[in-house]
Amino acid sequence: MPTATIVRTGVANTASVVAALARLGCACTLSDHPAEVADAELLVLPGVGSFGAGMGSLAAAGLVDALRDRIERGRATLAICLGLQLLCAASEESPGVEGLSVLDTRVERFGAGVTVPQFGWNRVESEGGLVEPGFAYYANSYRLNEAPAGWRTAWSDHGGRFVAAIERDAVLACQFHPELSGQWGRAMLRRWLARCGVREGRAAC
């Protein structure tokens, strides 16, 4: 059975992502050990808390280089919600905190005139790749506005266009929660696992 390593980031609520991967035949382990994060067959960077707190826990565990390295090399990594934002250089949420800086972009808060946080299902537009058009479940107050160069990008709209997901090689980073996005999310996770070279286990049906 393939094993996904979920980065332990403190108070992360990981039960839903563990359950979603289990339904696709993956076992999950939690780790904050740099070597395990570097070498994981499949890595999940879950989203929880603030940008500053998230980077703080990654730095305290010595995970910054391991994460940056495996993402630069396109190794099987799934980043969810805040996990996507942590790939950026900085965030309006936590001024002065440097992110993983894989993406040369800054995370900003949703503008005035829309519900913040964005809670619920929003339409996703894409032009192929792992992320197909459909509806995804979001719970976020901050987002990326610009498509990073060299990444295939899917979009949603909440008072203006924002980045729904980006992918490059076997790295997929989603602002939405695929583990809570019903059958659409499940199908996307299955495509990501296939791209990572994982053959589905018996539990996958």
Partner: protein
Amino acid sequence: MLTRRVIPCLDVRDGRVVKGVRFASLRDAGDPVACAVEYERQGADELVILDVSATPEGRATALDTVAAVRAVLSIPLTVGGGVRAVRDAEALLGAGADKVAINTAAVDRPEILGELAARVGVQCVVLAVDAARQGQGQGQGWEVITRSGANRTGIDAVAWIRRAVGLGAGEILLTSWDRDGTREGYDLALLGAASAAVAAPVIASGGADHAGHMIDAMRAGADAVLAASIFHDGDLTVGDVKLEMARAGLEVRL
């Protein structure tokens, strides 16, 4: 653009669904796992489970129920009932809930909302409010009811909602005490007042009989509608309601 959400609610006591779910397709309509699967299949946008167990043993069973539902459910799961302390919320989230609903404990000690938000994030904190009309007729506002109706607090419901969002509630599950169980439609004035008071999403609860009531609630300002008995009875599916909403021009996930 965010879609409007339709949210079925299961009342669970000692691990079994109460208030009679009557799906002809289910072998065991008292099984919360089977009900959850059926509601996701119908197109539910989220699921709420309210634990109405009265005993510590029942509450322990609720954690098993949450874990069993989580194993099969791939939409968001909110769990409420008996959340008195931060550790209760953490136990439910650890078992597989995505959000926790808190009611009486927050009225008794509002600071718990901030403590919860700091610990688990506002996206996990749902404030449940039971509101009853004050006086006769219109214009006199609503007061917060706690302990399943046993206690009228005298607290203005809209003011409480505004304060709670400031403290750390991410969403409001707003039940009309006057309409709950009547099937006369949601309290639209209450929904309008509450949704105008806060930017956080408001989930309408109490009084739905048909899709028209739900469309009215959304036009009054609700981001989502919650219902129990009309879905449990099986004559109306979540999918039916969402089709009606789409026909009425509301954005829904179909």
